[in-house]
Symmetry: C2
């Protein structure tokens, strides 16, 4: 099943969200328009806007407000990527040059700030103080998580909880903002808001674990950037963590983290992970989160949106990009 | 008259705002707490929070909401300074090392993002969608203005309108957010909201023009950073603009902008401006904006807050730091 099939219950409205996101680049400053257009033109999977719309379909579906929230979330996501790329000095993202690569650090900082602000304006258009507050709280969680990651880069002494906490801040927080805000804006009962939030939480963790696996097993073409990018940044993801746990005395991850210049260890770590059961083990962890997400979502009313969210959880662990 | 005297009508509540701002650094992550505490401990003039409280005193003074907005505005201001310092590679601010200098670009980006988010949460605590939206719109204006400044750095071909537009985005926008949101939260009539907004606009322009003058005539001790910082960044401020306008064939600003390495030209430009009528001319421009601000504010009800805002406009052009 591909994403277009999964998104079917909201596909017409997702096109409108996509148009709203692209319209953000229509500004009267040519240089700003160019940077915005470069950042927003290639949409990625639009998984977060889809989550907002699907989560908003169980009760009182109010597209007018959901659209603003979905746009806000995607813009915030884009802004964090622009800042991340500047911090990581990444040249490529989704197969294209990054803002950092094309314009440099300073415009990347300011363009990210502009998009955070625009996202804030969009979230205020929901006219719902609860979702507006959730929106800003999520940005706090994300930036705190990114700071944590920056401070712990090339730190080999992290346990599994540190990793889960890190991907909670980095990815899960935005996933459950998407589902929770969709639920709030559709006036779902509190208990169902919590169910959709929990679903988003588990789906987000699974999504990031798979992302971290793909950074080891994907091709540069599939990833849109070189494999091993996380290791190159000194980010200890689950596969790297398991490799280090399995061979605590000596392994290429440990050698790399001890001497950042020994980049030949990135290739060695990738090979060693690929030729071990670590990939399977990581997929099992992701699968467990997805199973949990599905178990949760099955307590929601039986609608086409519910089926879409179940299929999405399956997609998340099966995807290769 | 010093600022403490001017702030008298709101001084007790300003202390509470100050405490709320400092409380932002009380977080459970030691490294984050340390960076926040460094950023928020030295308060500066707290002119923006004072504007919000004073503007909120003409009608229905609701400190509970004004406090959140004042805190939000000061946090947004701090966040923009942290990003600015990273972009400008500034080592000093208010006589102390910057976050950029102490921790580097990456933590500066993420700490700024965290404070933008925290500011957003604070603004949502006003529970007033109009002020929440104004808040995010202002951040859009500021970051667009900063982008404009970054793109036009070392560009000598700017006219006076470009300069005014730049300081509108950079400074006036946050000043009139302070006064406008104070007015909105006190349920002022629309016409009076506009009056307070106009006052904030003119005061903000005057404030920035004086800041730009002080960068030429202040001592390093008064400024808390070396004089001539704007020129070093390639930022064409009013004194530099007038010098270039007066000697279009050749002058140290032009030479500096043509050959960025010629740092002796900064010293020459400072000397030439100090020994000319340019300083007086710039003060006249600032004075005009302040007179306009005062004329405007005098149409408000005659209260101690009105007098404070009048005195503040006088202070803004008389200050030496």
């Amino acid at each position: 099943m591909d994403l277009n099939q999964i998104y079917a219950p909201v596909s017409a409205d997702l096109i409108k969200v996509d148009a709203a996101i692209r319209a953000v680049s229509e500004v009267n400053f040519p240089w700003l328009a160019e940077m915005l257009s470069h950042s927003l033109a290639v949409g990625g999977k639009r998984i977060r806007p889809a989550l907002t719309l699907l989560s908003g379909q169980f009760y009182h579906y109010q597209f007018e407000y959901l659209m603003h929230m979905a746009t806000a979330i995607e813009l915030m996501h884009t802004a964090t990527l622009i800042h991340d790329d500047a911090i990581d000095k990444s040249d490529m993202r989704r197969g294209r040059y990054t803002i950092y690569k094309l314009w440099g650090v300073d415009p990347a900082i300011l363009l990210g700030d502009y998009l955070f602000a625009k996202a804030g304006v969009e979230s205020s258009e929901t006219r719902n103080v609860r979702t507006i507050r959730l929106f800003s709280q999520t940005l706090m969680t994300i930036s705190r998580g990114e700071l944590n990651q920056a401070i712990n880069s090339f730190n080999i002494h992290q346990n599994r909880d540190d990793y889960i906490q890190r991907i909670f801040g980095k990815t899960a927080s935005l996933f459950f903002l998407s589902t929770e805000s969709g639920a709030v804006l559709s006036e779902a009962p509190e208990e169902k808001i919590q169910t959709l939030k929990d679903y988003g939480h588990d789906l987000g963790l699974a999504f990031q674990i798979v992302d971290d696996i793909l950074d080891f097993i994907g091709t540069e073409k599939e990833l849109g950037k070189p494999a091993g990018s996380d290791l190159a940044q000194g980010t200890l993801t689950l596969p790297a963590f398991l490799l280090n746990e399995r061979y605590p005395q000596d392994n290429p991850v440990k050698r790399l983290f001890e001497d950042r210049k020994a980049t030949e260890n990135i290739k060695l770590a990738i090979e060693q992970v690929r030729n071990s059961s670590i990939v399977k083990e990581c997929y099992n962890v992701a699968r467990e989160y997805c199973d949990n997400a599905i178990r949760n979502i099955k307590t929601m009313p039986d609608t086409s949106s519910r089926q879409a969210l179940i299929d999405l959880a399956d997609f998340v662990v099966q995807r290769n990009r």
